[in-house]
């Protein structure tokens, strides 16, 4: 088995500065070498574990309260992780006890919802640091907040039901994104104007890949504050906001993400 010769590694190492793609892999026959193979297996194992982790909600609830927000612990209607993965519709609805817990009679500019989505570790690691970069500025701008929620086995659309019950003008769902091989803890934020059940993905805006190795907290916070401000003044979110606000920041609408039903699907 021929291991890397010196000229090989230097050339490919230089090329790898331009891309995180797995290029110039060392080979054994037509296959890759053992170290390359096991590095891939490790990345996949980390992504799989991230998908199947359950949310540890207590520290998040403490963290929300420590930041001056009321905080509710809620669950979706999915009975377990397997059902949650197979039935996205159940992950978008609250279970009966959570509905009772929600009550009514709230109100405010923004409902903040933390949900595990497809990576509990993403929301556990990045949601509170992101809020630390966002909340002081929003308070300076006189934003008001409904109680926040930490939701187990929640999909993006569960923010619609929660936001509607809270009578929130906007909902911000901070949620773990589907792990990639090199990004098991990527956080997404979805904004929805006047959340209510039945909102479409094209009516939301999304920030993606929030984590120190991707979009950092400060950059994400700046974009989020800009988006929230624009949404409040234009009274909308979604494709229309993306189109109008395109000059200011590089935005995607949630529709762009959902539209990737297949590679290249546009």
């Amino acid at each position: 088995m021929a291991k890397d010769a010196a000229p090989r590694s230097t050339t490919w190492e230089r090329l790898r500065r331009h891309t995180p793609a797995r290029i110039g892999l060392a080979r054994a026959g037509t296959a890759v070498t053992t170290d390359v193979h096991l590095a891939f297996q490790l990345a996949h194992a980390q992504a799989r574990d991230a998908v199947h982790d359950t949310l540890n909600a207590a520290p998040l609830l403490d963290g929300l309260r420590g930041r001056g927000l009321e905080a509710l612990h809620l669950r979706s209607a999915a009975a377990n992780r397997r059902e949650y993965l197979m039935r996205p519709d159940l992950g978008a609805q609250l279970d009966a006890p959570s509905c009772t817990k929600l009550g009514s009679g709230y109100g405010g500019d923004l409902a903040i919802v933390l949900a595990d989505g497809l990576s509990a570790r993403a929301v556990e690691r990045h949601a509170l640091p992101l809020l630390d970069a966002v909340l002081p500025e929003l308070r300076r701008l006189q934003w008001t907040f409904t109680p926040a929620a930490a939701v187990e086995m929640g999909r993006v659309a569960i923010g619609d039901e929660i936001g509607a019950a809270m009578s929130a003008t906007l909902a911000a769902v901070l949620i773990g994104e589907r792990p990639g091989l090199s990004s098991a803890d990527s956080l997404g934020v979805y904004l929805t104007w006047q959340p209510q059940r039945g909102r479409k993905d094209s009516e939301r805006n999304c920030l993606s890949n929030i984590r120190p190795e991707g979009m950092g907290y400060r950059e994400a916070a700046a974009k989020l504050i800009y988006l929230l401000t624009e949404a409040r003044s234009r009274k909308l979110t979604g494709v229309a906001l993306k189109d109008e606000a395109i000059d200011a920041v590089s935005l995607v609408s949630a529709h762009d993400i959902a539209g990737l039903g297949a590679p290249g699907r546009a």
């Binding site: 793609a21 996205p88 589907r178």
Partner: protein, 466 residues
């Protein structure tokens, strides 16, 4: 109404749509849609009932309304009654037996294709084992051409997929070079742009076309962006070889992708007018379509039809435009549609079978996401099965890890391995180019990326630039 009795229990199925759905081997997307058989016995009862349905019934009973669905109208209006003649007396089960028999030769299957509807092909798939799906598909020889000839016996082509999360041109170029050195790229060099900006797509098309001309590579390139973006790029003079579009099996699902048949016709005409192929009037294969089971349900446009039948109907859309390539992106959609490796494997072989039977150059993105119950072992299995079934092309992704779309596919190395394992070669024009470049000899890859210091002369400056 369709009915059968098994051991004193009567099973009834209201219409062909329900019968097809309940006969479909279990998968999560049909369960999500609430249209699956109640239990395993009812599923087989549906399969037995379906096996006895005359093929003529499929011409009389549409599964989505003719008046409301232009895909149904396309299927019915373009059905070739003469081509259908040799099997017109058969049932679904009879067609399966006939397809497996020696009577169904490659030549006869080629003339039969326009006589079959997608629903007939889907029905046979539902009562077939994987072995049947493979052995019948190997008899379907579908050849298409642009700058090379794809689909010839003994050949396996690969789309080189050099995606990058920010469309960095140097990063993309590095991935393309790696793939070419390992023998991928004869089906197409195809980038999924991260940005939907037309300027960026123009830049990527020029990058690929410049490289092709510089190295005289007998292949084609494609930026996998929406058909309207490609049409605008054609008007601006961009080097567009192939028009890409995702398509589905109902009019409403296609509308959710922002397309209809008229728009596809317009883009087909525009691409043909460019005359960029290498075979003059013979190179009229200028479309690249992608599909995948579950896309119609995902768009809320499934009409309570099962996802495998609707996938086959997408091939009716595809074949109206004589595509160079059709790619079923089988595991991308997620576990709510195809739950695990078993479901993905069956779906990939069903799609390949139906596409080939309907006359299409079928490839498969053998793939999965990280929330599906699947791993690289499942991909090895499906890739090997598809290669034995004569799949036209598969994906070549650096290290099988698509860093832009965040899913796992097959790698340049996987393509090499299965080619050498089964004695398959790249498209002949591309193989000749690999030989000229010193990258291949006697049908075996020389794996030149091991020694950049000894690269073929044309590649050295490229590496220096990247």
């Amino acid at each position: 109404m369709y009915a059968t009795a098994i051991g004193g229990t009567h099973y009834t199925f209201a219409d062909l749509r329900e019968l097809l759905a309940k006969a479909s081997p279990l998968r999560s997307g049909d369960a999500l849609a609430g249209i699956i058989a109640a239990d395993a016995t009812e599923r087989v009862a549906a399969q037995m009932t379906l096996a006895d349905v005359p093929l003529r019934t499929f011409l009389a009973e549409a599964i989505t309304p003719y008046e409301d669905d232009e895909v149904t109208r396309l299927i019915i209006d373009t059905h070739d009654a003469n081509a259908f003649m040799p099997v017109s007396h058969l049932t679904v089960g009879g067609l399966r037996d006939w397809l497996l028999s020696d009577a169904a030769t490659s030549a006869i299957l080629a003339t039969l294709a326009p006589g079959l509807t997608p629903e007939m092909a889907a029905a046979v798939a539902k009562i077939s084992r994987l072995q049947d799906l493979i052995t019948i598909a190997t008899k379907c020889k579908i050849t298409t051409r642009f700058r090379g000839t794809l689909g010839l016996p003994g050949r396996l082509s690969a789309r080189l997929q050099p995606n990058h999360p920010t469309d960095d041109t140097k990063g993309i170029l590095a991935s393309i070079i790696d793939g070419l050195l390992l023998g991928s790229g004869d089906a197409v060099i195809g980038i999924n742009p991260a940005s939907d900006s037309p300027e960026r797509c123009y830049e990527l098309l020029r990058l690929m076309d410049d490289l092709r001309l510089r190295l005289a590579i007998p292949t084609q390139s494609c930026a996998l962006t929406h058909v309207t973006t490609t049409l605008a790029l054609i008007e601006r003079g961009a080097p567009v070889d192939l028009v890409f579009q995702s398509i589905a099996g109902t009019e409403n699902a296609n509308r959710s992708f922002g397309i209809d048949l008229a728009l596809l016709r317009e883009s087909h005409t525009a691409a043909l007018a460019l005359k960029r192929g290498a075979f003059g009037n013979d190179s009229d294969n200028v479309m690249y379509f992608e599909t995948g089971q579950g896309s119609a349900l995902s768009a809320g446009a499934h009409h309570n039809c099962d996802q495998q039948t609707l996938e086959a109907r997408a091939y009716a859309v595809a074949r109206a435009f004589r595509p160079l390539l059709v790619n079923t992106v089988v595991g991308f959609i997620g576990p709510e549609y195809l739950f695990d490796g078993k479901q993905i494997t069956r779906a990939g072989l069903e799609d390949h079978f139906c596409g080939k039977l309907l006359g299409l150059p079928m490839g498969c993105d053998v793939c999965y996401t990280n929330h599906a119950e699947a791993d690289q072992d499942d991909m090895d299995g499906l890739l090997t099965l598809l290669a034995t079934a004569g799949v036209t092309f598969v994906m070549g992704v650096p290290g099988a890890d698509d860093i832009m779309l965040n899913y796992q596919s097959t790698s340049f190395h996987d393509v090499l391995a299965v080619r050498e394992l089964l004695g398959l070669r790249p498209a002949p024009e591309f193989e000749a180019w690999l030989n000229d470049m010193g990258l291949m000899k006697d049908g075996r890859s020389l794996r030149a990326n091991d020694k950049p210091g000894e690269l073929p002369a044309p590649f050295a400056p490229l590496l220096a630039e990247a």
